[in-house]
């Protein structure tokens, strides 16, 4: 009997030798995840014949554009910074803080950034790890590494529990499954914003058929302003649309002109509703505007610090960010 026991134990030891050949990681490998998702969505893709043309701005860069990849922006000129602005020959960032009464005895702080760039390649995104990975980093760290004149958190794409979303970063397709209940922001080759309500798949296909290149795409929302029209926010939209929450939104004012609004309350869970946020951006002149991840995810980084009441201690690490870069540095 002892012999049998020893044999069984030896067999168990032998079987365990298969593990080095079978188990690469406890985590799902990024590349495998990407390919498997692609494979599945490919099967589900339906075709569309609708065409939809959106005018886009043509930019005449005075300086060499940045490559459309994950490389950083050019170094910033320290002399270009003031407490609330940055300027060089390729970019202008102007910051402003306003207080707004959002109801009875309810004051919120608006952190407003207006950005003018000279080339579409200056509106960029960065990810903490490989584009599809769940790696996270502080937006402030990513901003520093990428020479961001202004950086903001995006939609924390790796944190989406559903993963049914349409996501591009710097021309790299990460996910391509439109989410029927969420709005989509696409930034094209001219750095123009295009909003797709409920991520309408046919409209997206028509957009691509019209010859546009998708550089960045974010599934989150809701869309706040579309083609100059203030939208009414669906009461069933995600993330507490009617709650007074800290919010972050990005909008386009004109070709190569953008606006970022971060709303923070006097307490960490205070802010505005999504409809109020839409109104704020509308009043500031946005023609397209899109709500990004709010709450403690909302982060606005300027000149190595935060343009909001935040510290490194409570900054939430995230998978990706949007930033504006300079073309001027060497």
């Amino acid at each position: 009997m002892k012999k049998t026991t020893t044999l069984i134990l030896a067999l168990a030891l032998l079987i365990s030798l298969a593990l080095p050949f079978l188990v690469p990681s406890g985590a799902l490998l990024d590349e495998a995840n990407y390919h498997l998702l692609e494979e599945r969505w490919q099967k589900e893709e339906d075709s569309s014949a609708l065409s939809w043309l959106i005018p886009s701005a043509a930019a005449q860069p005075a300086l060499e554009p940045l490559p459309m990849d994950f490389s950083p922006g050019r170094p910033l000129d320290p002399a270009g910074f003031t407490a609330e602005s940055y300027e060089d020959e390729s970019i202008r960032v102007q910051l402003e803080t306003r207080e707004l009464e959002a109801g009875k005895q309810h004051v919120v702080r608006l952190r407003i950034a207006t950005i003018t760039i000279t080339d579409p390649s200056q509106l960029r995104t960065a990810t903490a790890g490989k584009p599809a990975s769940s790696k996270v980093a502080l937006v402030s760290s990513m901003a520093q590494k990428h020479n961001a004149a202004l950086a903001l958190s995006a939609n924390y794409l790796s944190h989406d529990p559903v993963k049914t979303s349409f996501e591009y970063r710097m021309g790299v397709r990460i996910r391509k499954k439109p989410n029927r209940i969420k709005d989509l922001l696409i930034i094209d080759e001219n750095a123009d914003f295009h909003l797709f309500i409920k991520s309408n798949a046919k409209e997206i296909e028509a957009f691509e058929d019209a010859g546009h290149t998708i550089v960045n795409a974010f599934t989150f929302g809701p869309a706040l302003i579309k083609d100059g029209v203030l939208l009414t926010i669906d009461k069933n939209y995600g993330y507490n649309p009617h709650g007074k929450e800290p919010r972050l939104a990005i909008g386009q004012l004109a070709p190569l002109q953008y606006i970022v609004v971060l709303v923070e309350g006097l307490s960490s869970r205070d802010g505005v509703t999504q409809q109020e946020l839409a109104q704020i951006l509308f009043d500031l002149g946005a023609i397209q505007a899109f709500n990004l991840d709010g709450g403690n995810s909302a982060t606005l980084v300027f000149n190595g610090g935060y343009y909001q009441d935040k510290t490194k201690s409570n900054e939430r690490a995230q998978s990706d960010m949007i930033y504006f870069a300079s073309l001027a540095g060497e």
Partner: protein, 319 residues
């Protein structure tokens, strides 16, 4: 830029460093289990069956649990993808559960005492975890949020990438598993009542791993902001406390104060843990302070559980 999984440079073969560490863990666990059970023939046979069954069962449950519970895998969940293990994706909780089930089956096949078999398995599982956790260093797992405490960022506990420094939580987890293995072996040698070593493992591993899972921020098995394994580990220690408390309450003369207090405190601690998680994410308080608070909160059910185990050992061994 980031290695998903380190492959050893062996010509003609793909040998994963993480898999190799898992194999090492299995060897360590099997040898320890064999040594611990060698004095009793039935237990020795049960240990052999357990070793043989634990590998496929642990492997299958680790994979199944990951595929069913991970939000990244759910959209691609098909039988073919589930079986394609080369993509990675395993849950340690499932592996441990598979091994425990294998011990129960092994004991039944050999006609051995099931609880004693689980007792013997406990230090073996802890020993398995030491290299298994160290192996996470060869993957993208086992790292924390970006560190903001300067003295930690310069220590050997931190790893640095292009952006930030991260705590190597896998080192802490390996060290904790080693301490747990030693503690459980010593407990076994004291010949405590059957089942108590396994209960100690469930209690102490559940408590410590709840904290470790909070420290981990590697996106593994998370559903939005909720770590699935953290919930399971919290449930593990909470259920162990309830089990011990109910057993004591049913034992005449064991007294009611300690088990009732344990249940009440555990019920109070669980929401407190959720609160501390929010504090860690949102508060400007230093992470070190928040985790100190976390440790204190978890020490309460841990200590109460140990007191119940001691009391239970005294009373149940007599009876």
């Amino acid at each position: 830029m980031y290695e998903d999984a380190v492959i050893l440079p062996v010509p003609g073969a793909r040998i994963y460093a993480y898999g190799l560490m898992l194999a090492l863990g299995c060897w360590l666990a099997i040898i320890l289990l064999w040594r611990l059970s060698s004095r009793h023939e039935r237990l020795s046979r049960a240990a052999a069956f357990t070793s043989l069954l634990a590998l496929p069962m642990g492997f299958a449950l680790a994979r199944a649990m990951y595929c069913l519970l991970d939000s990244a895998f759910q959209p691609i969940l098909t039988l073919r993808n589930l079986l394609n293990v080369h993509t990675g994706g395993f849950a340690m909780y499932g592996a441990l559960l598979g091994a425990a089930l294998a011990a129960l089956i092994g004991a039944r096949l050999a006609g051995a005492n099931k609880m004693r078999m689980l007792d013997l398995l406990s230090p073996a599982l802890a020993a398995f975890l030491v290299p298994a956790r160290l192996g996470e260093g060869f993957t993208t797992l086992g790292i924390s949020r970006p560190l903001t405490t300067s003295w930690l960022t310069d220590s050997f506990l931190a790893s640095r990438d292009a952006y930030d420094s991260y705590l190597r939580t896998y080192l802490l987890e390996a060290a904790t598993a080693l301490i747990l293995a030693v503690f459980l072996i010593r407990m076994l040698r004291r010949n405590v009542k059957e089942g108590l070593v396994f209960s100690s493992f469930c209690l102490l591993y559940g408590v410590t791993q709840t904290l470790m899972e909070s420290l981990r921020y590697d996106g593994h098995l998370r559903y939005s902001f909720v770590g699935v394994q953290q919930v399971l580990y919290a449930a593990l220690f909470a259920l162990t406390i309830i089990y011990l408390a109910v057993r004591l309450l049913k034992t005449p003369g064991a007294g009611k104060a300690l088990p009732v207090l344990s249940i009440v405190m555990t019920a109070a601690i669980l929401p407190a843990i959720v609160g501390i998680e929010f504090l860690i994410d949102r508060s400007e308080l230093g992470k070190l302070f928040s985790y100190g608070l976390y440790l204190l909160a978890l020490a309460i059910p841990g200590a109460l559980g140990i007191l119940m185990l001691k009391k239970g050992d005294r009373i149940w061994t007599k009876s």
